[in-house]
């Protein structure tokens, strides 16, 4: 037992509820974050390409990116909340060990977010500045992802926390961990792939866009999706093989459920790849959502495997009080109603808004 691991606090309801909520919200956060990353990357490409259609595609994406950031952050908040309930004593510690970098996430997001809004609101007058702004957002996103990969790998490896004593100002990164790079790459490559799909969907679904822009969106989106999904399968194996032996064994028969998830994920990835090659946008979109969920479950198995010698959420003390949870579920359901109503009203009134812009 590592003596540095803090004692956790008690939870109000059985750990399974939190695991469920974490595994429900985190993949949604991933999908939005991926769409945001991929849209920014493709917007940059389109700006650099510079022909009229590409420019208009870049502008269409510029309009979407701020929404994606808003909801990526929003769902990230939910996932982070449930993560902290189950794994807070690991997560807080790893955050402090890299504290100086970790807090930088906040100003970085602010800069990326405001650049994304400038990129949108000032698009027509930006000229070459457009490339600078969208690059700024994109590279900040990539940087933040790197910091998250550092924190999550740190969190899973209490042995690595000893670096704190040499650098209590939180200026350590987990660069010595051989898993860091493949893990980061896996998330980035996958992110851009899903982002490509998102752009293709925008092209498919936004009927008000000019047909050449729609075609360009679908074309480039699908190319990006297929290429990066191919790379993703390869990077996934690199990531898998870089994991500690105990963790790998979970997916090769050591744990029946983890092995099943792995096989299902791998097969589904191949199906999605094939669908990408034949450019079936809607089919891919329907398949990618469960794929992201399956990959998140794999990721969760990796986490459990790493933490097994130290901790499992089952061991958390429960001081039962269920009424606040029921209130939450009630508010969640009640909250969906006005959201759906507003979105329907908004979609009904948008065509005019589009002409007006």
């Amino acid at each position: 037992m590592n003596t540095l691991i803090p004692a956790p606090d008690a939870i109000p309801v059985s750990w399974g509820y939190f695991k469920f909520l974490l595994m429900l919200t985190f993949p949604l956060h991933l999908i939005l974050m991926n769409s945001m990353l991929g849209s920014a990357a493709i917007a940059l490409y389109a700006c650099l390409k510079g022909d009229e259609t590409s420019k208009r595609l870049a502008y269409e994406l510029a309009k979407v990116i701020p929404f994606l950031i808003a909801f990526a952050v929003n769902l990230g908040v939910a996932a982070l909340l449930f993560l902290q309930v189950l794994y807070g004593h690991f997560f807080y510690t790893s955050s402090i060990v890299m504290g100086a970098y970790w807090i930088a996430v906040i100003p970085l997001v602010l800069v990326a977010y405001y650049s994304a809004y400038l990129f949108d609101f000032k698009f027509s007058s930006l000229g070459k500045g457009a490339v600078a702004l969208v690059s700024l957002s994109l590279f900040i996103f990539l940087g933040i992802a790197f910091l998250f990969s550092n924190n999550i790998t740190f969190m899973l490896d209490p042995e690595a926390w000893n670096v704190y004593f040499a650098k209590p100002a939180g200026t350590s990164l987990n660069l010595g961990d051989p898993v860091l790079l493949p893990r980061y790459l896996h998330f980035i490559v996958g992110g851009i792939a899903v982002g490509g799909l998102f752009v293709a969907l925008v092209g498919k679904m936004k009927r008000k866009m000019a047909s050449d822009v729609r075609a360009a969106a679908e074309n480039i989106g699908m190319k990006v999706f297929t290429f990066f999904t191919g790379v993703q399968v390869a990077s996934g194996f690199w990531f898998l093989l870089s994991l500690p032996q105990d963790v790998i064994r979970l997916f090769t028969g050591g744990d029946a459920l983890a092995t099943l998830i792995f096989i299902a994920g791998f097969l589904l990835a191949l199906v999605v790849l094939a669908a990408g090659i034949s450019r079936k946008v809607y089919a891919i979109a329907v398949l990618v959502v469960p794929l992201v969920y399956i990959m998140s479950f794999m990721r969760d198995s990796v986490r459990s495997g790493y933490l097994k010698p130290h901790f499992s959420p089952e061991s958390l003390q429960v001081l039962p009080q269920y009424s606040p949870m029921f209130l939450f579920f009630f508010v969640l359901v009640a909250g969906i109603a006005p959201v759906v109503w507003m979105l329907r009203k908004a979609l009904g009134s948008l065509p005019q808004a589009e002409e007006e812009r």
């Binding site: 309930v85 510690t93 009134s349």
Partner: protein, 512 residues
């Protein structure tokens, strides 16, 4: 002690929390009141059939969205990040106890962003009735966010019955819940008007500028006047210790309160001018002045609230330095270094006194004290002391100054801490002077150095008492708190008071 200390000695974690929270507080309150402002301004425009007002509302909505969704949203996450880095133990308690409170607030957050996006992006394209309903949905969701957060923030100062039963609802609907909710509601409405001054200052159409300035000034003034009794109600719900801190028992709080008062007056004056006398005088500098006053007003409230909680993060439960109150006895028994996880030294020996002292300093003092920084610099606060007086001071620190947590640890750890501050930080000697007969005679001086120089130098006391006779000095030692409400009463014996009085009197050359 359960978690590592993120150690930035020159800056201090508290400074970083303050920096992010201040920004967030100003924007998050605006995010609530501003929602109602938008709805009302839009309705005013529709009723008067005034396109200019509607256009103004639309521009203000854009400013509002960029301010609240981006800056407000991200700094909100920022507070969460920074409190988890600086005070992970208390953050963990808040998260685990109120997880479904936070989760519920998150739902309101979702509704809020969807609503403000629809409100802004469909401005003009949506039928006006639906558009106003969306505005109302925004405001209600934002206010419900405030409702939830208010319960959790208030819990930290007045946990009430939760301390006994650990129940979610006892903690949430804590004694300061309702007054704080009302106060914050009115403050958020006030800020909505103040922010609108900013937008109106940029208007070029003089008629519209005058109309909207008056409209906004009415907002500010009425909600400000409504906030005042709520503030008093709030104060009255605080527990005695917290109230005495809030009412000025701590010098820093008193200064904060004064600033609050001055800026409040300034704000009213500024607003009255804009409202009644000359809306035409409204300009960008005026709007910034009123904005700054409003910030300082709210800032002083938040500062007072935070400071009144001392020495706790969660009142009567966990100290500012993450030590849980009920663990204190156990820590004193088995030693701090053996109880803590994240220390480099596990015990004190002759050889590691400074290293052990540094560990203790990082865990117990650094949460509020910087080393050479602006905020509560430990070097400045202990510069008048020597090793024996500091050692003695640490033993009674919580009794002498209520708002500082008691020292947690054993005898040798206390020595290690005093040694670290004296030698490690000041480079002073850590030897005890021998108790010679002369030293015994100098008892008054020793007592003076132990109890008085913590806050004022010998020179200052000498100047203040220059015209006093021995009798008045002796009297004052029984009435320190009456001399100055931030000065704690001296709790020594009558004999000790005589000795201190002798010493102070001798400073002016007076015979004993």
């Amino acid at each position: 002690m359960n978690y590592p200390v993120w150690y930035l000695p020159e800056i201090g974690g508290g400074t970083l929390i303050a920096l992010i929270s201040i920004i967030h507080v100003f924007i998050s309150h605006f995010a609530v009141g501003g929602g109602l402002y938008l709805v009302c301004a839009e309705r005013k425009g529709l009723r008067k059939n005034d396109g200019a007002i509607i256009d103004f509302t639309r521009r203000h909505a854009k400013f509002f969205m960029l301010m609240t969704v981006v800056m407000g949203g991200i700094t909100g996450v920022g507070i969460w990040f920074i409190i988890a880095l600086v005070n992970p133990a208390a953050t963990s308690i808040l998260i685990h106890n109120f997880v479904f409170g936070w989760a519920t607030e998150w739902v309101f957050f979702v509704v809020e962003i969807v609503a403000i996006f629809v409100y802004y992006y469909c401005f003009g394209s949506m039928d006006t009735r639906t558009h106003q309903i969306v505005g109302w949905i925004y405001f209600i969701a934002a206010w419900l966010s405030l409702f939830v957060i208010n319960g959790i923030v208030g819990f930290m100062l007045t946990p009430g019955v939760w301390l006994a039963d650990g129940d979610f609802w006892s903690g949430f609907f804590n004694p300061s819940f309702w007054p704080s909710l009302l106060f914050r509601t009115f403050v958020s409405l006030m800020l909505a008007g103040v922010y609108a001054f900013l937008t109106t200052a940029y208007l070029t159409d003089q008629r519209l500028k005058s109309v909207m300035t008056r409209f906004s000034a009415k907002w500010v003034l009425s909600s400000f006047l409504a906030a005042i009794p709520c503030g008093y109600w709030y104060l009255s719900t605080l527990p005695n210790q917290a109230r005495s801190l809030a009412e000025g028992a701590s010098p820093t709080v008193r200064i904060a309160m004064q600033y609050g008062l001055y800026t409040a007056v300034l704000m009213i004056a500024g607003t009255l001018i804009l409202l009644l006398v000359k809306p035409a005088w409204h300009s960008r500098p005026v709007s910034f002045l009123v904005l700054a006053s409003a910030f300082l007003f709210l800032g002083s409230f938040e500062w007072t609230r935070e400071a009144s909680r001392r020495p706790y993060v969660i009142n009567e439960f966990i100290y500012s330095n993450s030590i849980v109150k009920m663990d204190l006895e156990k820590i004193n028994r088995q030693g701090f270094l053996k109880s803590a996880r994240w220390v480099s030294q596990r015990s004190t020996t002759e050889g590691n006194l400074l290293a052990a002292g540094r560990d203790i300093f990082m865990n117990q003092c650094y949460p509020c004290h910087t080393v050479g920084g602006i905020n509560n610099d430990i070097a400045a606060r202990t510069s008048f002391m020597d090793y024996p007086s500091l050692l003695n001071y640490i033993a009674n620190i919580h009794e002498i100054r209520y708002f500082m947590p008691p020292f947690a640890g054993n005898e040798t750890e206390r020595k290690a801490l005093a040694a670290y501050i004296m030698k490690g930080i000041h480079g002073k000697s850590v030897q005890f002077t021998e108790e010679t007969p002369e030293a015994v005679e100098e008892k008054g001086k020793t007592l003076f150095e132990t109890h008085c120089v913590l806050c004022h130098s010998e020179q200052l006391v000498k100047e203040k008492t220059a015209s006093w006779d021995r009798k008045k000095i002796r009297w004052s030692l029984d009435n320190l708190n009456r001399l100055n409400s931030s000065m704690p009463d001296y709790t020594g014996t009558a004999e000790e008071k005589e000795q201190v009085a002798d010493y102070i009197f001798s400073l002016q050359g007076g015979a004993r």
